[in-house]
Symmetry: C2
Subunit: 500 residues, 2 copies
Amino acid sequence: MADRYQPLVRYFQKLSRIEHAITFLQWDHMVMMPPRGSEARSKALAELSATYHRRLVSDELGELLQEVEDKTDNPERIASIREMKKVYSRAVCLSSDLVEAKTIAGARCEYQWRQQRNDNDWDGFAGNFREVVKLCREEAQARFARNPDNFATPYDTLLDLHCTGDDSGFIQAVFTRLKRDLPGILEQVLERQRETKRPNLAGEYPVAQQQQLNKNLMLSLGFDFESGRLDVSAHPFSTGCRGDQRITTRYRENDFFDSLLATAHETGHASYENGLPRQYDGLPVGGARNLCLHESQSLLFEKQLLLTRPFLEFFLPVIHRCLPATSHLSAETLWLGATRVAPSLIRVEADEATYPFHVIIRFEIERDLINQQIEIDDIPELWDEKMRRYLGISTGSNFKDGCMQDMHWTDGSFGYFPSYTMGAINSAQFSAAIRLAHPDWQEQLAGGNLDFIRRWLLENIWSVGSTIESQEILQKATGQKTNPDFFLDHLKTRYLDCGY
Amino acid sequence: MADRYQPLVRYFQKLSRIEHAITFLQWDHMVMMPPRGSEARSKALAELSATYHRRLVSDELGELLQEVEDKTDNPERIASIREMKKVYSRAVCLSSDLVEAKTIAGARCEYQWRQQRNDNDWDGFAGNFREVVKLCREEAQARFARNPDNFATPYDTLLDLHCTGDDSGFIQAVFTRLKRDLPGILEQVLERQRETKRPNLAGEYPVAQQQQLNKNLMLSLGFDFESGRLDVSAHPFSTGCRGDQRITTRYRENDFFDSLLATAHETGHASYENGLPRQYDGLPVGGARNLCLHESQSLLFEKQLLLTRPFLEFFLPVIHRCLPATSHLSAETLWLGATRVAPSLIRVEADEATYPFHVIIRFEIERDLINQQIEIDDIPELWDEKMRRYLGISTGSNFKDGCMQDMHWTDGSFGYFPSYTMGAINSAQFSAAIRLAHPDWQEQLAGGNLDFIRRWLLENIWSVGSTIESQEILQKATGQKTNPDFFLDHLKTRYLDCGY
């Protein structure tokens, strides 16, 4: 009998080449393209996306997937076929009309949001947002109808696109623990930090010097510039493919540390991507497992590596050398400046101790919105009420710094937010496992040796790809599923005991 | 009756979006991509090229082209359909086996040539080159067999891909004139320049300063940085699309003028592309007419604008400001340094007076090679013989600086070389027409005003696209076909009378 698996491999590899084109044209769009290139680029990207989608939902692929032998004994193939079917099934259950309508509504809503947010214009925004939510509810219903046994609620089908494998019940349970235990910790941290003054890290840091510093950090974190680049964009991001990881950051002349943290963060994302299993290149099973793991890698590099005292001690001479204006700053001063905790309105500026509440607010609202428990008009009041309850600050009618602050919802990316906090917990959990296995980890970091960490991550997470489910990865690597205790312990150690 | 033209328009517009993707992924490959990105990129480009080719030779397009009403009265449509049929016909007459074999043989020959040229290894090179020539002869025969009435020889079918509309008989006649009259002029120029010493323009010119200078030159030449970029690559080139013209140059720390000339040259190419008729975007009729015209625009910007005394006078303060190390150089010194004439072995380093002979040698050899009048083993001796006859210097067994010096033949780009000299003649012819219409052109250039030139080029060349044939464009714009007299007059005026 002919091998029915190899044609599938070739089919997906070809698809991945179209995806490659989309990836790098989007990178170029964000990083290199002059403003007037936008029209032609949008059309080219639309054509490539349509080509990709058409090939993905083709009868040919459907038939190949039906014909393939499910009962193979080869576990690698079973996993690979499972992931192929998942990708196909996700695409084929939506009508092209719905996909197109959502793209158009999302683009309009996002575009106008930039100005509307600026103008604090909730009513104007809600007009466009209504259409986005309507279409996302339709999408969730359509996905739910196709796989009613796989999902607890329609919202879970959107969550599954980003937090694949971690359902809303599991996430709710994790977040309930945070809601119970985090306020007490937060109160103690704030009490404790009240005693000390926030060190002032401001200064004059020329962009060219910061670029040099960030590249040095990437080298120290194991980034290979033969296989990637660092550039500038309005918002830091990372993208690319094996052998060509592209990360970006942004610069402010009076602050170097934010850019340095962002660079570590994106280096974590890039390291995961470059560590994915080479033998599955171009196949769904070779991709990153989900965003809860992706974000765990970026946060691990940012919060559990760069932002530790021993690593800062090691890296301080490089900072001094690249940025002469930092010569008066000690590692301890940097650490104190960057570990300051304070409840605030804006998620992207939040510290790691208050960040989970920003995410929990969004998770609870988007879940109930997609599941039709609440309506758009309920959002501002719910937002204000939850902000007051969780963080003790009110947004009132300050929509721009409240429910209008994020881009995610504007184009219908529901189910994305939980990955930030699931990622933070996972990163603390992985770090704990690594530290347990390497009791001398502080000495190693102080010597600039990160090999043991990269090796552990490569073995337990990166090279696993999507061969097993998210919580199986956690279980195998750390002995248990995502457990908020590790994150809470991390906060207590760092902010109350002032360890690492 | 249904309009059979609009479906064709949509078909080609969609094709152009795949072309857009290929264009910018190739740019990225040359300018941005880290070395290890090469494998994935090559596969993605191959997949996109295959997709493009498959759609271009599809039965669907063939039928659309057959069904379209040829007898429309609309001259724009007639031209558009004619160009569509040309593109289709060029693609459909080759078997995909031949296309693939040529791609593979060309890539291998080019790749190994880089080392073989270095090693002066003609025999090694000839081994790979034999396969390339064999496949190119097959290609030429296949193209010739499809359209025997359109072409005088098989070589003409390859020439037509680059110098569309200018056949080998016409080019031969033009080159015969140059072979007759240029040696006498050259002799006088050399005699005359023997009296003066070549000014030394060498110095220390930091790359960052040169970049600033080149960007200023582009602005002076009318380049719009909202619609394009300047970057660095191993060899200067320009590419892009409407609204996004990307040009590159390269830098040497001890010489700024070469990079400046290259920047003017590429700005000419980019200006042509950005001036193409907007209403035909994405259609073959909206593309640049041929390389003889494309090169005329780049050479016009380089040799007939930047390298004139009045423009250099105007631009000198910018040079002084950007490059402090040039403060002792006058415009006249720069002009004298950059208009030096001397026969030499290397085409890309040749001055404009000796350059045509480099092209004529290549044209005569490649024509006879493709038409099977000579064989590969004849090339070194022919090269040496022609170099001695035309330029009075021998290459002997110095293959690396003789017949192995260019990349063009290595991947089978036969029919490309003549466009350099046809372009030089056209540029002189266009300049003469512009100067006749604007007798105060020197004052205008001295004031930095180039609008009258850009307007003339836009009206007579850029906006014409491919609506009419190459020599019709020449005829309409200058009253006659490509005529080497204009180029010879230009040389006499610049190098003997020391005008402009």
